[in-house]
Symmetry: C2
Subunit: 287 residues, 2 copies
């Protein structure tokens, strides 16, 4: 959201994805009481014409929410929404993990990272995560089944890789960019794949920082590094949602939400997310 | 060659590719007077068993040289050999240029770079090169038809890109790595492709240098960056040789050789190549 807001001219509604309850309707396909998802931004009420909201995924493509009870509707913003599809398509189409390989994920305790690691385990891989607190690392190892998780703020990255990935790294799901990513990419195996999903470490900088160059490893290991925005797969959106829902129902995919309450707490929730308070998806629930 | 020699224990023959004339033979498929190519290293004479020399491409896969007269046999080390196939497969399989796109190549005046730029023009693209002297740039523009060529030692890279690539960059053939590559990659269009062929700028460093990170551009432009070693296509070796030979015969592909003479001048030739003395392929001819 930081990266995208640079392109907007103020004043403007803060961008963001919502699950919204229909309270008034003139369209029989969207009856009162049902829920829709959309990239409406930070607002309490939205008046919109569903026919005009087709397009890219954004934070949540506009759609009528199917009944996902007993799960909370907020999952449509998490594992059953954009972050879930980011993990699903990034792994399936770019990392392409094979059983027995080693996957590293940075930003591992976030909505996407927790999901990526679990898909890695479901793919028969060794999974190593980097996250920002010891508590998050404990959660990743004990609750989600990561083989190892390291607090990037306190460990030596190279030593952690040596310990956590004794057969080196075949896939890297990069949420953060910067020097830690240079260290990981320089520790990869021949024909390794890197899915570049985000560059959190640099979004606050006025100009991009420097880090150890990647080209020697890219050439000699013949690595493939690809960036993606999840709306590339907008035509296959349901495929991802259904695959994640099936894993969820089968008990193979766990999720965590950090829930804040009340519209007035939007800013605190956002800043908290930037500070790393959340494990899994940060959501704000409003009556 | 610098990058690979690190893996050898001294003393050892210096590695390298040769075209060698058969002067003694006990194998009827390899008669006296014919020529073979191979990665024999720096030596005047080699005794070898052809059946045992299958394998990777190295600097020149072992093979009997077909008659390529009136062209000199040394082309089997250049446009009709490993550098030629590096350009051919790197462009065809990784850059995948489309007509009307803009291609940038670094190390543009070398054996691979000159070839890459010409394939770019044959593909209907705008071609921009970076090389190390004004004379080389003049040659690239006037002789090889590059749309623009810049001396990376004297220009501002960002300004040169703005001038040379007004529609930004779709394909980048990277021979050098480092900061210039960061500048080019940060100037690419959506879905741009980068073929990483070398990292010349860092081979002399004891540890890899730092440069502006690539992840923000990789994500937001959804770039694909892939490194390669040409022996990946050893099974399609003849395809590349024949395509380049056809272009050569049709007058569509030009080449330049920097020829040194005499075995005793091998070291001077090598150091001269590292200093950037050569345009096109540097070869040493021995009586």
């Amino acid at each position: 959201m930081r990266a995208y807001m640079i392109g907007y001219k103020l004043p403007v509604d803060m961008i963001g994805g919502q699950v919204a309850k229909i309270v008034v309707s003139r369209n029989e396909h969207y009856p009162i009481g049902k829920y829709v998802t959309g990239s409406f931004g930070w607002r309490t009420h939205t008046i919109c014409n569903p026919e005009k909201l087709k397009g890219n995924a954004g934070f949540a493509p506009f759609s009528l929410l199917p009944d996902i009870s007993p799960y909370p509707v907020s999952l449509a913003l998490g594992i059953l929404g954009m972050p879930g599809n980011t993990a699903y398509f990034g792994m399936k189409e770019i990392c392409r993990p094979k059983s027995g390989e080693t996957i590293v994920v940075s930003g591992a305790a976030g909505a996407v990272g927790t999901h990526v690691g679990q898909i890695g385990k479901l793919s028969g891989c060794r999974v190593v995560g980097f996250a920002g607190t010891d508590e998050k690392c404990y959660y990743l190892e004990k609750e989600l089944g990561f083989d190892r998780a390291f607090n990037y703020k306190t460990v030596d990255i190279k030593a952690a890789l040596k310990e956590g990935a004794p057969r080196k790294v075949d896939c890297y799901f990069d949420n953060v960019g910067g020097q830690i990513s240079s260290n990981i990419i320089n520790y990869m195996n021949k024909y390794g794949r890197v899915a570049v999903c985000g560059s959190i470490s640099s979004y606050n900088e006025s100009c991009s920082p420097k880090a150890t160059i990647l080209q020697p490893a890219i050439v000699l290991k013949e690595l493939k590094i690809e960036g993606f925005l999840v709306d590339r797969w907008i035509d296959r959106w349901e495929e991802g949602i259904n695959a994640n829902l099936r894993w969820l129902v089968d008990g193979k995919l766990k999720y965590e939400e950090k829930v804040y309450h009340g519209f007035d707490n939007m800013v605190d929730a956002f800043v908290g997310m930037l500070r790393g308070e959340n494990t899994g998806k940060a959501v704000v629930k409003i009556k």
